[in-house]
Each structure stands twice: as C-alpha cells, then as structure tokens.
C-alpha cells in the first residue's frame, strides 16, 4: 500500500473522490433540512425578508397598526391616522373633493390610453377619433369614459365648492386653501375646454372659435378690445394670436391645445392639488363637523390664555 500523500498524484484523486462522497452524504441530510426550513418559512410569508422590506409593520388588529397602516403608506398618508368621528358622515362632506380627485385619476388613465391612438394634426386628428370609435377594441368606451368623466369632474368641483362655502370652511385658517381651490376650478375648466377642440369636429371647432373670439376683446391686449388698437394690437400679435398660434383656429391651435391639455395644465393642476391636499392637513384637517358657536361667543377667542381668563 503506498503511503497516502496529501499532495501526491494519487492522493489528489482520492481526495476529490472522498470530498464528493462527503458532499453527497451532506446533501442527503442538509438539503432536506433546508427544504423543511424553507417550507416552514413560507407558511408565514409575513416573516420573509421580502415582505418585511415592503411592509414595515405588523398587521395585527391593534390601534397602533391601524394608525401605522395609514402613516407608513405614501398614498394613504395624505390622511391623518384619526379623524373626527362625525367627519366620516357622508352628509357633511358629500365626498365631492375626493370624487373630483378620483375622476382626475380616471381622466389621467383614460387620457394616456387615448394618447396612444391620437395625432394632434389636422390630417389625422379626426380620423384617429373615427378609428377609436370603430376599430380600436373598447376605443369607444375609452373615449366616452374620458368625455363623461370630464363633465362629471366639472360638476364635482362645483359641488365641492358649494359644500365648502355652505359649511364656512374657507374661514380662518383655511383662506389660502380656498384660493388654491379657486385656481383648481379655473384649471379644471381650462382642461375641459382645451380637450374640447381635440376631436377636430364641428362641435369643438366652433366652441373654441366662440371661446377664443372673446380674447379678441381683451382690454389692452386684444385687437378689438378697449385701447387695444391704440396699443398697436392687430389680429397677428394680440393675446388671441398667442392662444391659437395663429389668427384662426387651425393646425397650430390644435397642437397648442393638445400640449396644454395633455402636459401643461395637468402638471400645473397636479402641483396645485399637492398644495391643496397638503394645506388641508396643515390647516387642521377637514373643517368639521365643528361644534356650533353661539352669537355671544363669536368674538371671543376659543382657545389660549385669553379664553381661559374669561
């Protein structure tokens, strides 16, 4: 029997064989152990690293977890963890602000899908709408949803403002947020109006013609407005020309309203919405339903040292 040398020619070969044998032996016991462990682990997926990296807290039904569920979620943390018990009553808020925001999301979604089928050019715009109506699967539904959601959004904004006015919610400390809301009303109407021209049909064409004809008469800046001609305004350099990109509603007007409709105004409106929602929280959450104030208490401070002194 030759001596076993760890580094010998034969010794090396024997070493490899032995190691393989050893590994096979180990695999027979260790892998099943791992499999068992893995299966045990999968029985409770909430303990996996993937899960805990996404969800930062447990889901037991405890007050703490209910709060964390809202606060640790980027989409839900627009809300506070808790609100006034009567504020969830539909009769107070009518849910109109939320519905308006939801419709904006629906409009963004359907709008992006519509953009896949639409070219903002005089040659193709109308044909694209026909194509959408007759050939694109669910194209008609898509266009209808976009149209009606836009109308609903206008109504939603009006009813929201109506509610906010009737509940006096614009009063201190929410004055500024009311102003942001008024701007959002303007941008909602402009979004709807710029979209009106895009099918490039008679309805949109004449509506936009009527609408932008008023811009001719802008004081100082329109060629038919008071003091416009005196300031050198003509149909080719006044504010209407700037809006339409020309002196008539044509290819440039179509492109301009497309860009305002799909990019410009949505960005501005989104920024204002962020401010609007942020201010709702920063100004103390939604305004009520608040305890009623009596005439005698009206001019007295309700909190702070002065109130305590009285």
């Amino acid at each position: 029997m030759p001596e076993e040398k760890p580094n010998g020619k034969n010794g090396g070969r024997v070493g490899i064989v032995d190691r393989v044998k050893e590994d096979v032996q180990a695999a027979r016991t260790e892998i099943p152990a791992k499999v068992k462990e893995q299966i045990e682990g999968l029985k409770d997926p909430t303990k996996t690293q993937v899960y805990t990296s996404i969800f930062r807290h447990k889901h037991d039904d405890t007050p703490r977890n209910r709060a964390l569920g809202v606060l640790s979620n980027v989409f839900l943390h627009l809300h506070p963890a808790k609100i006034n018990r009567d504020a969830v009553r539909y009769s107070y808020t009518w849910g109109m602000g939320g519905i308006t925001f939801y419709l904006f999301i629906v409009l963004t979604f359907t709008g992006v899908l519509l953009m896949f089928y639409y070219h903002p050019t005089k040659v193709q715009a109308f044909r694209d709408v026909l194509y959408l109506e007759h050939d694109v699967p669910f194209g008609k539904l898509l266009r209808n949803m976009h149209r009606w959601a836009a109308h609903l959004m206008v109504i939603g904004v009006w009813l929201h403002m109506f509610r906010v006015f009737l509940t006096g919610s614009y009063k201190k400390p929410r004055e500024f947020n009311w102003n942001i809301g008024v701007l959002l009303l303007v941008f909602t109407l402009l979004l709807s109006f710029t979209g009106y021209l895009l099918p490039d049909d008679q309805l949109g064409f004449w509506a936009v013609t009527v609408g932008t004809n008023m811009a001719r008469a802008t004081p100082l800046l329109g060629h038919e407005g008071p003091f416009g001609p005196q300031l050198g305004m003509t149909p080719y350099n006044d504010v209407r020309f700037g809006l339409l990109g020309g002196s008539i509603v044509d290819a440039n007007a179509l492109l301009r309203s497309y860009i305002w409709h799909c990019i410009g105004i949505p960005i501005v409106a989104s920024v204002l919405m962020i401010v609007h929602f942020w201010r709702v929280r920063k100004d103390g959450g939604i305004s009520g339903p608040a305890p009623v104030v009596l005439e005698a208490e009206a001019d007295k401070p309700r909190r702070g040292p002065k109130a305590a002194g009285e």
């Binding site: 839900l76 609100i83 009737l166 811009a215």
Partner: protein, 309 residues
C-alpha cells in the same frame, strides 16, 4: 308644443350633464338645508339655556360621554373612499356604455354651426354676451368672478358658521352665494343651453327652433331716450349714470350693513367693506343690465369712443 324639439335638446349628449346637474343641485341643497335647519334649532336651544350650552357637545349628532371623539381612518374613512370610487366607476361605466360622446362632422371653417355654442359650463359667459360687449362678458367678468371668489375668505369677517351648516348665522353670506351660483351662474347656463336657439334667439322650451325666424327688434341706447345726441354728452351722461349707480348703490350697501348687520360692519376694515361693496354692485349690475335689455331693449348705458357699457 314641439316635444321632439324639446327631447332633442334635452338628450343632446353634451347637454345631459346639465340635465343631471339640476336634480343633483336640488338634492344637495336639500341635504345642506336639512343640516342647517337642525343646527339652527340647536343653536337657538343653546342660546336660551346657558347651563346646557356649557355641557352640550354642540352637534346635532348623538354623542355620549365615553365615546371616542375620533375614529381611525383605517378602516372607517378608507372603506367609504373605496366604496365611493367603486360607485363612481360604476356610474361612469354605465353612462359610457349607454351614451356616446358627441362627434360631429369634421371641422369646417366655411360652415358655421348655428347656434355655435361654447361648452356647457361656459354658456353663462356666452349668454352674457347678449347684454355686454365681449370685453366685459368674455374677459372682465370671468376675471372678476375668479377674483371675487378669491376675496371671499378675506371679506367675510363673520366668525360664526365655520365648519358646520347654518342659515341663521350667515344669512347674508349664504344668500349672496346662492344668488351668484344658482341664480346667475346656473340659470344663465340653463338659458344658454335650453332657451337659446339659432341666431342666439330666445326660444321657450318646446318651441320649434326655426332657423328662418326673424325678430324685428330695435335696441336703443339709454342716452337716446333722453335725447342726447352729441358724443361728449353721451360720454358724460353715461359716466353720471354708472358713477351714480356705484355711488348710490355703495350707500345702499352701507345702509344695509349698518341696519341689518352692524356687528359684521364693525368687524370689517374700510378696505374689506369697500371690496364687498364693489363686488356686490358689480354682481347686481348683471341682472339689472339683463332687465334693461329684455324689458326695455336698452343696449348701452354709457357710450364712449373707446368702449361701451
């Protein structure tokens, strides 16, 4: 009665939102009024009973000691939001399946639509074109509406009625807003949509929209009625009338506040009061001018070489 004509206008796809808006508005006005009334009853009760006012939780909804004043957003608010989203989606889906978005012939600059109407939410402004020159109806008035809405929180100094529905504590604010929103804005939209036909002529509901109808109507200017013919005279006359309206009207608003809202008046600064006066009078000028036109066929009150009002 031309029912077909009526149905045609009511069922035009883009008019459906207005037809829907009317019952929606009625419902929400009812809902608001119901809560305002309940709160007003409570306020009256508390004002007559000082002891109760100290202990009462000050809401019309039930509350007992030991109940939590706040509830968790998850699930109590989020489930409502989720439900609302589903309901809105269903309504939108059903509406979109049953009613097609309008699509007319391709745009044709040589073929004018008659009547050529703006989108329905702007028809109030278009209706205003009848009574005012475009620079007022199309530019100045919309700007003033926006500014007017924005100044509301800064001129309404009434500290009551913040965060709850009430009528008795905010009679003036609420009636002004209802006047502006319902009477002026919504009614003008309804007139613009359902009443105005070809040539922007007045057709009562059910009257056939006759494209050949001619109305012999002579509009006069106010200075003409008084026999003023010279341009200078017309300019001065109009300035006196318009200036007089604002001066007298301003005094009337002052008198109104002093007698009926002395506390609000005391709370307001001069600037706040002046802005309130100005916007109230401009808002009232619209229906006044409408009446002048519809009842006495008066076109302009103030005529100058540069602008007419």
């Amino acid at each position: 009665m031309d029912w077909r004509q009526l149905w045609e206008i009511m069922s035009a796809p883009d008019n459906v939102p207005i037809v829907g808006l009317i019952p929606l508005l009625a419902f929400y006005i009812y809902l608001a009024w119901k809560q305002a009334h309940a709160n007003d009853v409570l306020i009256e009760q508390l004002e007559g009973d000082a002891a109760l006012a100290k202990t009462h939780h000050r809401k019309t909804w039930p509350f007992q000691a030991g109940w939590q004043k706040e509830v968790h957003v998850w699930p109590f608010l989020l489930r409502i939001e989720f439900l609302a989203a589903i309901i809105v989606t269903i309504i939108l889906m059903v509406w979109s399946i049953t009613l097609n978005a309008p699509l007319e012939e391709p745009a044709n600059p040589n073929l004018t639509m008659n009547p050529a109407k703006a989108p329905w939410y702007f028809l109030g402004l278009q209706e205003m074109l009848v009574y005012f020159d475009p620079w007022i109806a199309g530019v100045v008035m919309p700007t003033l509406i926006i500014i007017g809405l924005m100044v509301i929180p800064y001129i309404d100094t009434n500290p009551m009625g913040s965060g709850y529905y009430t009528w008795k504590q905010r009679r003036f604010a609420i009636s002004t807003f209802l006047f502006g929103f319902i009477i002026l804005w919504v009614t003008m939209i309804i007139i613009g949509t359902f009443i105005r036909g070809p040539g922007w002529q007045w057709f009562w509901p059910g009257q056939t929209w006759d494209h050949n109808r001619l109305i012999y109507e002579v509009n006069r200017d106010l200075p003409d009625i008084f026999g003023i013919t010279s341009n200078l005279g017309k300019g001065i006359f109009g300035a006196i009338i318009v200036g007089g309206y604002f001066a007298l009207g301003g005094f009337a608003v002052f008198s109104l506040f002093r007698h009926y809202m002395p506390k609000d008046f005391a709370r307001m600064s001069l600037l706040q009061f002046a802005i309130t006066q100005a916007f109230l009078l401009i808002m009232l000028a619209l229906p006044l001018k409408m009446l002048l036109r519809l009842l006495w066929h008066i076109k302009y009150v103030w005529i100058t070489p540069w602008f007419n009002i």
